[in-house]
């Protein structure tokens, strides 16, 4: 969790008044991501004062001369007063507390942050704000990462050549192989076989910016035939001759109505308690849900393999580039990138590759599996992604920092949520609806301490390697925790989970108190 952007001044000299009974406390005031700390000078009592920022209910600031006063009223009804040296420092600290106390995670994961990481690894890419007013692409965020060699004017032209303006942007930079993962929508080739010089130049620039001699693969999530047929309606797929160095691969993934139907049938089958048991397995097979999971996982493996093993750059798109494309790019990152497997990293991945990337949650998750309404835009694309992540977690039980609980929470909140994170279909809509100011972020809800036990995997050990899942049919299971959640007795598995947690916290406790003893021993 990165709060550093919100902290304007980290430190100041201050005096804390805690009410008539307690003596005032002087020392260095520190603002951290979660806490306000007052560390007294070395000669004073060694007491460290600490306040959880989220417990601040209201904040009031006053300035007089070159001093300032901040009054904090806390949710537990305490009133605290901080006298701070320096006007600037007072205002900055007040603003930092203001920003942090809401636990406002809205600013946690913008593309800007991911760009910082990419910029550390390579300088072939730049952050473009060409989409500042959403005029190039209404479903992209304001800032996107594009090749440094391509200017904003060229981007505008490329956007016109891609459906919905979704020109190729960077999704993930794989530093070890110096290759990239890109996503876009289909090119608007049309029946006249149009071309776009800027679009071709952009993909050329991608290869040029990668390691020398790098090739590229375009993973089209439609069959070759469907891609070709799309030309009749103005779409299509990249012509070989126009994009030298890029090779096209077709991996048809199910989307839209058939995917929704598969989901509905599966839920029906799982809930049908009357159904003759002899045919459960063929009914399960008939739903084809596990087949979709297998296809999604193997396509993600293909993209990841292309980068890691072959040193190739990968562009993923289907038609609109807002559904199966995102399944593939986000799973490929989970396979390759250890940092996306942490709690914070996974939240960032979902924020960046699904929410900011313009997956139309509002349309896709309007109805779940029970609705009698005829599905129009509903499709469980995000659920398919979560199921794939669950399969990955089952095959690599130690390598994900989050557990099944996290995936279930994301599923629940994507369909109905008191938080604003999954609202609307795109960044533009979220700006129009002022989602950020009028709702709370799911991530701050999930990152509360009391939620952690349900969401985290207690056995997590960071795994620096790529996770290559087995996609053999016998390796993929029905996600019972989701599909049979309300029909199976949960106690036994919960008991095991509780036991693991107990041992982990026991161990942390003893680990934590152990240096205490040695520290006091040193002083003796």
């Amino acid at each position: 969790m990165e709060f550093s952007e919100l902290i304007r001044t980290g430190q100041a000299q201050a005096e804390l008044l805690r009410g008539p009974e307690a003596p005032p406390l002087r020392g260095t005031l520190c603002v951290t991501g979660h806490h306000l700390l007052l560390s007294p000078g070395p000669q004073a009592t060694p007491d460290l004062w600490l306040l959880l920022l989220r417990s601040v209910d209201s904040i009031e600031k006053r300035v007089a001369g070159d001093c300032g006063t901040i009054t904090l009223r806390c949710k537990d009804l305490r009133v605290l007063q901080l006298d701070i040296e320096g006007v600037e420092a007072t205002l900055n600290i007040a603003r930092s507390i203001e920003g942090l106390r809401l636990g406002d995670a809205w600013h946690f994961h913008p593309p800007e942050r991911y760009y910082k990481r990419v910029a550390r690894e390579t300088n072939a890419w730049r952050l473009s704000e060409a989409n500042e007013d959403f005029s190039l692409c209404p479903s992209y965020p304001r800032a996107v990462i594009v090749p440094r060699a391509v200017n904003d004017d060229a981007l505008a032209l490329t956007a016109r050549f891609r459906q919905g303006g979704r020109f190729p942007v960077l999704s993930y930079h794989h530093a070890p192989s110096r290759t990239v993962l890109l996503r876009s929508s289909q090119p608007l080739i049309g029946p006249q076989k149009r071309r776009c010089a800027e679009d071709e130049a952009l993909l050329r620039a991608v290869l040029a910016g990668s390691r020398p001699g790098a090739r590229g693969f375009i993973v089209d999530t439609r069959s070759a035939q469907t891609a070709k047929q799309a030309r009749m309606t103005g779409g299509g797929t990249e012509a070989k001759a126009a994009y030298p160095g890029w090779k096209r691969l077709h991996r048809p993934l199910e989307r839209g109505r058939p995917l929704q139907e598969s989901f509905v049938h599966l839920v029906e089958a799982c809930g049908d308690l009357e159904q003759s048991m002899d045919h459960w397995l063929s009914r399960l097979a008939g739903c084809r849900w596990l087949a979709h999971v297998k296809e999604a996982l193997s396509t993600a493996c293909l993209a990841a393999q292309g980068m890691e093993r072959e040193g190739a750059c990968i562009l993923v798109h289907g038609a609109e580039g807002t559904d199966s494309t995102l399944v593939v790019t986000s799973l490929a990152q989970l396979i390759l990138d250890p940092s996306s497997r942490t709690m914070a990293g996974f939240q960032e991945l979902v924020e960046r590759e699904w929410i900011q990337a313009g997956h139309p949650f509002q349309l896709r998750c309007a109805h779940s599996a029970f609705s009698h309404a005829r599905p129009k835009h509903e499709a469980p694309t995000f659920l398919l992604f979560l199921d794939c992540v669950w399969q990955l977690g089952r095959q690599f039980p130690l390598s994900l920092e989050f557990g099944e609980g996290m995936l279930l929470a994301l599923f629940d909140h994507a369909y109905a949520s008191p938080f604003g994170t999954f609202l609307c279909n795109s960044e533009q809509e979220r700006c129009l609806c002022e989602v950020r100011t009028r709702t709370h972020s799911l991530w701050s809800g999930l990152n509360q301490l009391k939620e952690q036990r349900k969401l985290r995997n207690p056995l997590y050990v960071p795994n620096p390697l790529a996770l290559w899942p087995s996609v053999e049919p016998q390796s993929l299971r029905l996600w019972q925790g989701l599909f049979l959640r309300w029909t199976r007795p949960p106690e036994p598995s919960e008991a095991a989970w509780e036991k693991v947690w107990q041992i982990v916290t026991d161990q942390e406790k003893t680990e934590g108190s152990q240096p205490t003893v040695s520290a006091s021993e040193l002083q003796l």
Partner: protein
């Protein structure tokens, strides 16, 4: 011995290897990259493939079918008749019975620091159950196996039934396997009784003694007016058995009883079902229609029926509704599955490592499950109709339960797989012969080593770290097809594409954490000890607030 080209089923591993017959019990391949280690006991069939005129790579050699879901194929060089010698030696030692040779367990001189043969002592086990009591007595009537040659020497029968009654009842039960007690509920005193089918026959014979005997069993619980009989077979089969002299308890003859059929199929159906499972997993996994091919084997369906039957038995007894009599035809296959699984659900003692060993030893080995016939130890007749994976099916059911109740069992998956491996290996005497009287005659306990010696001398390896001991908790697994899984780690373990996760990473990580915690606690105690020693010194002062510091810092 012979230079062979080993083809391990899949064409994935091809390498020149040396084939060894080491110490007459194992087939081992030595190679820098690969070690194949196959006990000769698992060999079911050895065939020569190709002839002297065969052309093409790997067309000439030996094809070995194993009992544990795999085949081995060795391609040999055609020159020099190397195959003949190999074939003869393998056949001789893989099937010692046909060559009047002893089974390997009798030659095995392994030593362990624990004697597994002492694990099961029937008197102690019955005493643990609170027997004998006012209604049940231990009888030695079968001491010399005269009453029933496939039953153990020691039996528990109703107090009110005399030895003469028992002898008369034996005449009316198939193979003299009379109803005897398997388990008694510690509180409500209802019981699980096992036996074989009554010899009713086509003419509908009756036997007053048998009818009276069952009523005596019912009366051991005064307040209950019905005795429940579970016939494990499908009703059609039970009726068909009348033609060969068997049958079931009819309403007219047995008042105060209710009879239910549990629809579990016979040994032949199970054998064919497992054969189909092998077809879809070995050498290649049937990928395109995995779920429907799995369904067409019906294996999970059979598992479901066995579990469902056992749940019904357990529920009757645990609710105190009535005592239960379980039988099938001979009462040594399906009956053993049902009684042992029900006991596992009812009695937490059997969920410990030693408890489970006792359960297997009691309900399976001592009560005459025909291991020798069902497995075919050392016997070359691979097509024998008596062979059937009944015990494997029981272990599969236990595995399904352990999946659903991850904290309820002291043992782990490796324990179950080890038992299955040695079911075939012939390294131990535990599963040899069909019944106790045979084992006694062959002095198995004196001349062979028990499998439990191996396991109990290295228990840590077989322990489930999540185990939480819970007394008196009855486990009711969900026996719905939705909740049953194919035991991939057993049935598909030879497929190199299946990730070998041995030992289970979750278990291992958990063990690490446990060890780490113990270590910290130990160090903490040591430091506290050292601290308190210093605190006695008046010059040392406790520094309370400073202890807060590091603790606080751990939050960030």
């Amino acid at each position: 011995m012979s230079l062979l080209r080993g083809l391990l089923g899949m064409d994935l591993i091809r390498t020149w290897v040396r084939l060894f017959l080491s110490f007459r019990e194992k087939l081992a391949l030595l190679d820098s990259a690969l070690l194949l280690d196959v006990p000769l006991g698992v060999i079911s069939r050895i065939e020569k493939m190709g002839g002297a005129t065969s052309r093409g790579e790997n067309s000439y050699g030996l094809d070995i079918t194993c009992k544990d879901m795999r085949n081995l194929r060795f391609a040999l060089k055609q020159e020099g008749h190397s195959r003949r010698g190999m074939f003869e030696i393998l056949t001789k030692y893989a099937f010692p019975l046909a060559h009047s040779l002893p089974i390997f367990a009798f030659l095995n001189e392994e030593k362990f620091n624990v004697d597994g043969w002492t694990v099961y002592n029937p008197v102690e086990e019955y005493r643990r159950q609170g027997l004998p009591n006012h209604h049940w007595r231990i009888t030695f009537i079968n001491k010399c196996y005269e009453l029933c040659d496939t039953y153990p020497a020691l039996l528990v029968v109703p107090y009110r039934a005399s030895d003469d009654d028992l002898r008369r009842v034996a005449t009316f039960r198939s193979r003299n396997r009379i109803p005897v007690l398997s388990w008694i509920h510690p509180e409500n005193k209802t019981v699980i009784v096992r036996c074989s089918q009554p010899l009713v026959g086509m003419s509908g014979k009756r036997n007053k003694d048998d009818e009276k005997y069952l009523d005596v069993i019912r009366e051991t619980n005064r307040q209950i007016n019905k005795l429940t009989i579970y016939d494990a077979r499908p009703s059609v089969n039970a009726v068909a058995n009348k033609a060969t002299g068997g049958g079931y308890e009819s309403d007219d003859a047995y008042h105060n009883t209710e009879l239910f059929f549990l629809d579990i199929h016979n040994i032949h159906v199970m054998r064919e079902s497992l054969k189909k499972v092998k077809d879809i997993v070995y050498p290649n996994v049937e990928e395109s229609h995995w779920l429907s091919s799995l369904e067409s084997t019906h294996w999970l369906e059979h598992i479901k029926l066995v579990l469902t039957g056992a749940i019904q038995v357990a529920d009757r007894v645990s609710s105190g509704k009535s005592s239960v009599v379980v039988h099938c035809s001979d009462g040594w296959d399906r009956t053993a599955q049902l009684t042992s699984l029900a006991m596992l659900m009812l009695d937490s003692f059997y969920r410990s490592i030693e408890g489970f060993e006792i359960l297997v030893q009691k309900e399976w080995i001592s009560f005459g499950h025909k291991f020798a016939s069902r497995i075919g130890h050392g016997d070359k007749n691979h097509a024998d109709a008596d062979r059937s994976p009944i015990f494997l099916q029981f272990i599969d059911c236990v595995w399904q339960m352990s999946k659903q109740f991850p904290t309820a069992f002291e043992f782990n998956e490796r324990f179950l797989i080890t038992i299955l491996d040695h079911l075939y290996s012939c390294r131990f005497g535990t599963f040899l012969y069909n019944c106790e009287s045979m084992r006694e005659r062959q002095k198995v306990t004196e001349r062979t080593v028990s499998l439990w010696s191996l396991i109990n001398s290295n228990k840590d390896k077989f322990k489930n770290p999540f185990y939480t001991k819970e007394i008196n908790r009855v486990l009711y697994p969900v026996a719905s097809m939705r909740h049953l899984e194919l035991w991939v780690n057993y049935y598909i373990r030879w497929n190199p594409r299946i990730k070998q996760q041995q030992p289970n990473p979750v278990e291992q990580r958990y063990m690490e954490l446990l060890a780490l915690r113990d270590e910290y606690i130990k160090r903490l105690e040591e430091l506290q000890l050292a601290n308190s020693a210093k605190l006695c010194d008046p010059s040392a002062s406790p520094s309370g607030p400073s202890q807060m510091m590091p603790h606080v810092q751990t939050h960030f």
